[in-house]
């Protein structure tokens, strides 16, 4: 497995604020569609912007296709297509003019490819950017990123403001392009159900660190949920407890590949609970991370009287 996006001890701290990310080690394999999931402020956008050379690291380093994006930003930009969190189109220009602009910016920009994607979605090339819906603007952003013919696509929560149909269309275009063109995509998102359909790998960030880094298949195979009341806290394999919408509390448990025992201890055990959904996997790890954070905050600082 070749990693095309790597983080080595990466840390980012904005002036006067706590660390957004710290000590992050991550490797995104070539040809994958990796979902980057985490709560607001977990550093997803910071990490993506770091890979395109927009954010210098405070510590550690990043690499994109083996290139340090801070030292060789041009080369990093040439290797990546980026779709920002909010559609950032020029409201005074038409979609056709955005494509013309991209040609002037970047030698080798594939205008027919970008136009093809836009037209296939029924977005008129003559439309002004400010006449498009949020979904259409996101699609244009994706078409422009694909038009760069970059092998690595960095998508920073492009689904956030889209309705379900627009999300589905967006992901369809993305998956088709990635699978057909041998791209690698990193997609940050909050919408877990969409990730399950489109992504083959899951990275969960929380409290500035990686909480989980597995293939979607393994994430599902290695986790089960049990009723919290019937589960002794602290048992091997316990990840975290979280509430459901029906006032029930569930505990996420990490298990062996066959779902028959706590994965961390490796010892065989009877089949437990039921299979976890991807959303429960993510929520369980985030809940555990939050709990750890609360415990750390409650710990008395040595030498300081309470």
């Amino acid at each position: 497995m070749t990693a095309v996006l790597e983080a080595h001890g990466y840390g980012k701290r904005y002036r006067g604020r706590p660390w957004a990310l710290r000590g992050l080690d991550l490797a995104v394999p070539e040809g994958s569609i990796t979902a980057l999931v985490g709560p607001n402020g977990s550093g997803k956008s910071t990490l993506i912007r770091g890979w395109i050379g927009f954010e210098p690291p405070t510590e550690g380093r990043l690499s994109i296709a083996g290139i340090d994006p801070q030292r060789h930003r041009k080369a990093a930009v040439m290797r990546s297509g980026y779709v920002p969190q909010q559609p950032a189109l020029y409201r005074e220009l038409t979609i056709a003019e955005h494509i013309e602009l991209a040609i002037t910016f970047r030698t080798g920009f594939d205008a027919p490819l970008a136009k093809g994607y836009v037209e296939r979605l029924g977005i008129p090339l003559a439309a002004q950017a400010n006449q498009l819906s949020g979904g259409e603007q996101a699609q244009v952003g994706l078409a422009l990123a694909l038009g760069t013919r970059a092998r690595i696509l960095l998508l920073d929560e492009p689904l956030a403001s889209l309705d379900p149909l627009a999300r589905r269309e967006f992901l369809h275009v993305l998956v088709t392009a990635v699978r057909g063109g041998g791209h690698t995509a990193l997609l940050s998102s909050h919408v877990i159900t969409d990730i399950e359909q489109a992504c083959d790998r899951l990275v969960v960030l929380g409290r500035g660190r990686t909480l989980l880094d597995l293939s979607v298949e393994d994430a599902l195979a290695h986790h089960r949920v049990v009723e919290a009341a019937s589960w002794e806290p602290g048992r091997p394999g316990t990840v975290g407890t979280f509430p459901t919408t029906t006032d029930e509390r569930l505990t996420l448990v990490r298990v062996g590949p066959s779902g028959d025992g706590p994965g961390d201890s490796g010892s065989p055990a009877p089949l437990i609970g039921r299979a976890a959904t991807l959303e429960e996997v993510v929520i369980g790890h985030l809940a555990a991370s939050r709990r750890r954070g609360q415990l750390e905050a409650d710990e008395p600082v040595p030498g300081v009287a309470s």
Binding site: R49, I52, F54, E55, R73, K74, A75, V77, M78, S80, G81, Y82, P84, Q86, A88, L89, Y90, R91, E92, L93, E97, E100, L101, A102, I103, T104, F105, R106, F109, G141, L144, A145, T148
Partner: protein, 309 residues
């Protein structure tokens, strides 16, 4: 390149159309008012000495009436134009892109931010130059009309408010506003800051240049400065050849200050001859233009380093 220029101008079409329309109006109005002033035929009346035509009083009334009611407001507009053009075209150029987030799109597609910057900056700077140069020509024409019998190509009348210096003032304001926009990344603070700092900067540089130019002034005999010359100072020439001001005269000859009549010492004036107008104008333009160039180059460095917002 042509596409890039066209698209940049389209992005700023509102400001461009407004400023070009305003400049066109002021330009046409300035030439029309200048024609009106010329048509009065006041020139023969505006002489320092010698006989004047009999109807000078009525001609003067008409001439001053046009000057006050039409030429003066136009001069006001022409004084504002380089500042307005620089601020409204230069201010939003980068700040609006950062504020709206379009730099994230542009800088993720464009491997070279310098190329992006040049494609944005050059058409706007060229537009500022054209608009403000037109304003400078209009101000030249109007100055010629209100200064009859003066060759304004060799006269300091309206120095700094006409010709090349109007265009350069616009360029300095634009360059400052572009640079501040790259720093702040927000349009309104950029325009406000650029107005304050640009005005102070231009005033300061002009004052320094004026002081430098004053050092090159020459002495001419007499109290009255020749038409087109730039007055710097005035002195009394003492019998021993020394030049003194009123304080110096009081020390040298206290009695002279007590007498009712003017002191009986020849007056000499320190002036910059009008014949040096083009040279002084060009030098100030080069200084201001150099500052504008440095600010634009500094902005290129900021663009290379800053976050896209």
């Amino acid at each position: 390149m042509r596409d890039s220029i066209r698209l940049t101008l389209k992005m700023h079409r509102f400001e461009l159309i407004a400023l070009i329309a305003f400049t066109a109006f002021v330009f046409v109005a300035a030439f029309w008012v200048a024609g009106q002033l010329d048509a009065v035929g006041y020139g023969p009346c505006a002489v320092d000495r010698g006989p004047v035509p009999a109807n000078c009083e009525s001609l003067g009334r008409e001439w001053y009436q046009i000057q006050e009611s039409q030429a003066s407001p136009l001069f006001g507009f022409l004084a504002i134009l380089p500042f307005a053009t620089g601020l409204f075209l230069g201010g939003p150029l980068i700040s609006r892109e950062i504020e709206r987030g379009t730099t994230r799109l542009a800088w993720s597609i464009a491997p070279s931010r310098l190329r992006w910057y040049l494609s944005r900056m050059l058409p706007i700077v060229a537009a500022v130059a054209v608009v403000t140069f037109a304003a400078g020509i209009a101000a030249d024409r109007l100055t010629a009309a209100i200064s009859p019998n003066v060759d304004i190509a060799n006269a300091f009348d309206g120095f700094g408010q006409r010709g090349l210096l109007v265009a350069v003032t616009g360029l300095v304001m634009a360059a400052g506003a572009i640079g501040l926009g790259a720093v702040t990344g927000r349009v309104l603070p950029t325009v406000i800051l650029a107005l304050i700092l640009g005005t102070l900067g231009i005033t300061g540089v002009t004052k320094l240049h004026d002081d430098f130019t004053a050092g090159e002034a020459i002495l001419v005999d007499g109290e009255y400065v020749g038409r087109g010359d730039r007055y710097v100072d005035q002195f009394f020439r003492l019998s021993d050849g020394r030049l003194v001001d009123w304080n110096g005269l009081a020390e040298f000859d206290p009695g002279a200050m007590m007498r009712e009549e003017e002191p009986n010492y020849p007056i000499v004036s320190l002036v910059i001859p009008g014949s040096r107008y083009r040279e002084v104008e060009t030098r100030q333009a080069v200084v201001l233009g150099g500052i504008a160039g440095l600010m634009l180059a500094g902005t290129a460095v900021i663009v290379q380093r800053r976050r896209p917002g």
